[in-house]
Amino acid sequence: MSTRPHAVRRPISVVAVGSLAAILSACVSAPPAPEQMSRTKVETAPADLQLLCSDAVAKASGIDTTKILPVSSSKLDSNTYQVEVDASGKKTSCLVDAEGNVKSIQPV
């Protein structure tokens, strides 16, 4: 009889600690990979994604890629970047996902 309360309390405390750990771990994001342990305060799109947008604009407009340059970019959500491309003076907005799929291009 005297050991019974302990037998009940221990599983409860274990469950409580486990739940707390699960909640905390959900709040703390995983550390970046070693090669990604630097960034700038303003998060721009990775260079390869910016250039995939340039390539898409070149194909759509017929303008030579040597006259097309990404001039700004930003992260819209965890999987999507917006890239502004200058194509011989014409500004085009491009949406590209983190896998390199160009979702849309349209004049600004």
């Binding site: 703390v28 342990m37 630097s38 960034r39 700038t40 303003v42 990775p46 390869d48 001039v71």
Partner: protein, 209 residues
């Protein structure tokens, strides 16, 4: 890395770079003072600024150089959707530029001749107005890749540096600097005429486009 990054957090933030501290699980501002102390302690720059092969999805030909001035990386495109990535230092505020240029020529242990504008504003540069011979103290370091727009020298270079701790920072007058081991490696891999794409959000100047 963490020990080095923990050395100092007292100096005001200058560049936009941040580096992750795995011990505190926090991003911290990475300025010239912290960079110097980190390098003094570890004899190398933080891991993300070291030479490494990375995935790089591109239609550009192998041998093309792509510079991400914002993130402080230089990519040399390789076959198979990969690139060799090196850490770089770039132009400070007002000295950043973007464009599409090419490697016009290269030099080993180059002479440094500061442009007249630099001579006018910098007394250290004025001393070498007629040219500083190549060597370990020369600001161009072990190699220089001269960037041309068509047949014209842009006055910008990709070069080595006697200050390797400045990799990852916005410190130059518009040139792209690499540590000497990396510029020697890059120089050995590129060809004169190679296309160079410089990406820099908010750049004050555009070349070749």
């Amino acid at each position: 890395m963490a020990a080095g990054l923990a050395v100092s957090v007292s100096i005001a933030f200058a560049a936009g770079t941040q580096v992750y501290n795995p011990q505190t699980r926090q991003w911290i501002d990475y300025d010239r003072t912290k960079a110097y102390k980190y390098y003094k302690l570890h004899k190398q720059v933080p891991e993300s600024f070291r030479k490494q092969v990375v995935k790089f999805r591109t239609a550009e030909r192998p041998g093309t150089i792509i510079i991400d001035g914002n993130q402080h990386f230089l990519y040399l495109v390789q076959p198979g959707q990969q690139a060799i990535r090196y850490g770089i230092g770039v132009g400070r505020d007002g000295f950043g530029w973007a464009g599409i240029v090419r490697i016009g020529r290269t030099a080993e242990w180059p002479t440094w001749t500061p442009p007249s504008e630099m001579v006018a504003r910098d007394t250290k540069a004025a001393k070498w107005a007629n040219g500083m011979p190549g060597g370990p103290d020369n600001p161009l370091g072990a190699r220089a890749l001269y960037l041309y727009e068509g047949d014209n020298d842009t006055i910008y270079r990709i070069h080595g540096t006697p200050e390797p701790w400045t990799i990852g920072l916005d410190v130059s007058s518009g040139c792209i600097r690499m540590n000497n081991d990396d510029i020697v490696d890059l120089h050995s891999r590129i060809e004169v005429g190679a296309k160079v794409i410089v990406l820099m959000q908010g750049a004050a100047l555009y070349k070749g486009v």
